[in-house]
Symmetry: C2
Subunit: 342 residues, 2 copies
């Protein structure tokens, strides 16, 4: 598996390539299987559907990794918080109101509730070619807590920041509960066949440094320690999106095997500061992938060239946008393969 | 003027202090004057109202600087694009659709349309105590273009990024037009008595490096060069919010006198990387200012201590939130003054 060889630092034969949200709405074959199960959470809990969705981009593009098809909000859902996906709006949760709401979250529900996810992982691993790695994933605690307290993504995070500053022990309890739940969830995915796992911290950007240190870096380390204890060799990829300068501290202090770089991380800085320490993944602009044109292959080459001296997994800086033409994805995969053959 | 002394590197007697959005809805006296002129753009074009609004926080807290009360969207409005402010929604613009829409923007309208702003600057300067600096401001080209193309703030910037990648010369034309308009606008504010100017690039975060270099760094440099040509001594403060690692390149390459740091910029990194080169301003979390409690004075002290070795203007990382208790602002000003007296 080129992806796992690269993560392990064993020098892969080529730069492995996959893309965040490589399975999804930009693919007509995905829209076809989704049409049968319009409710998105229901889709996530139907192994036949998720396995098919995860395999589609492997068949079409020959990526080096498949990623479990699921959503980070299955964890709050499994803990007992109401989660709905509304077409055109995105996920909507009944926001946590207070400590009593935190106390009602029930980690004992996780194993039974998430059984369909574990079934998806097992079946997907069995269905994948042996050289294609299977990546399991979860939302990181800060990002899960953001959704759970704000009730949605993309807000200014006013409620969770107020909670962090006014009741720090209470928020720490929630983050700790989520870290342990996520660690257990990822370990079970590895039990079922995941070859690596990725932690998505989509709302880590813009945080004041003390909050980032506590709720992003420390919380991630708590998860990594638990995974390592059980699976010392399984790579863990961290994605503290928007982390800016603190990508450096995240890379140094969490124990992750790799960091996934968001679109804004400058290549030269990452090559000098991060890559000597761990594997980097990224970071083509998903808006450029959508737009296409001559700038697209040029950007692909500049990423590959800049990270050529160390461990690198080719990916985007953020997920594939729904309007993206699949041919643009094919062209990028071809560029990466062509570069690797040079 | 302590603010100007600090910006000029002459060693002020104390750390100067002001806060972004120090005039605004969190103050009951502001809500009272706003009640008379509910239309926000109309308020911005009424010098009696804006001068009163800008003076209110000076009277109440004794800040070292007043900032012109206005909005960055007066520039698109003056160029002829429709701008409306909708209560509870924010600014809404008729989005630019194509090159013809860019061609219809008319810089010849600026001087007459913005005359009330220049009147505000003159009267405000005359009304301020001599030791209080007057800061003029404008939106930076990328952020103005974001509003003008997306039609609002806070979107994912999909339209402007598509434009940047699909028609780079066309976007460059718009950014250039805005840079020249903004340079002229700031020069006129200095003509009328502004002692320093700040460029707000609120949507500079998350940009791929090549876009940041072209549309944030280059565009800012183009403005700074024009201001310096006319007013070599007037300080220019840049605020590339969310710039992350690229704050370094922004500080090195634009020619600004100071950078305003967003909430996420780590203090130690800024003290090592930015402050030896220029003055830094910032960067208390506006959500902590809102929340208050024991963490607030501790955070104020940690910012003051960390930047004690060089040029520093105390400020927030983002504007004061409308729900902020004015007593929290007073307590922070008191902490800054107390630290300066030590």
């Amino acid at each position: 598996m080129p992806l796992i060889e690269t993560l392990a630092g064993r020098g892969a034969r080529r730069v492995p390539c996959w893309m965040m949200r490589q399975a999804g709405r930009y693919l007509p074959e995905y829209r076809a299987v989704r049409a049968d199960i319009p409710d998105f959470l229901c889709f996530c809990y139907t192994p036949d559907a998720t396995v098919e969705a995860a395999l589609q981009p492997i068949r079409r593009f020959g990526f080096d990794a498949a990623i479990l098809f699921s959503d980070i909000l299955v964890v709050p859902d499994a803990l007992g918080q109401s989660v709905r996906f509304i077409e055109g709006v995105g996920p909507v949760l009944e926001p946590l109101a207070d400590d009593r709401a935190i106390a009602r979250l029930d980690p004992a529900r996780l194993e039974a509730h998430l059984a369909p996810v574990y079934a998806s992982v097992s079946r997907l691993r069995a269905a994948l070619p042996p050289e294609v790695a299977l990546i399991g994933f979860a939302g990181a605690p800060w990002t899960l807590a953001h959704y759970m307290i704000e009730g949605r993504g993309g807000s200014d995070g006013g409620r969770i920041r107020a909670w962090a500053y006014r009741a720090p022990e209470s928020l720490a309890r929630l983050i700790g509960l989520l870290a342990d739940a996520v660690a257990g969830y990822l370990i079970r995915q590895i039990d079922c066949g995941a070859d690596a796992v990725q932690l998505f911290d989509s709302w880590a950007g813009g945080l004041a440094e003390p909050l980032f240190r506590t709720h992003v870096i420390e919380a991630t380390r708590r998860i990594v320690v638990q995974i390592r204890d059980r699976y010392p060799q399984t790579p863990v990829i961290g994605f503290p999106r928007g982390g800016g300068v603190l990508y450096r501290d995240f890379a140094e202090e969490t124990g992750v095997t790799a960091v996934s770089l968001d679109t804004a991380v400058p290549l030269a800085w990452a090559a000098e500061t991060l890559q000597p320490r761990l594997c980097v993944q990224g970071n083509l602009d998903n808006h450029l992938l959508l737009a296409g044109g001559a700038a697209l292959p040029a950007a692909v080459l500049s990423i590959l060239d800049r990270f050529a001296a160390g461990r690198h997994i080719f990916n985007l800086g953020h997920g594939i946008l729904p309007e993206t033409p699949p041919e643009h994805v094919a062209a990028v995969v071809e560029s990466v393969r062509g570069w690797s053959r040079r």
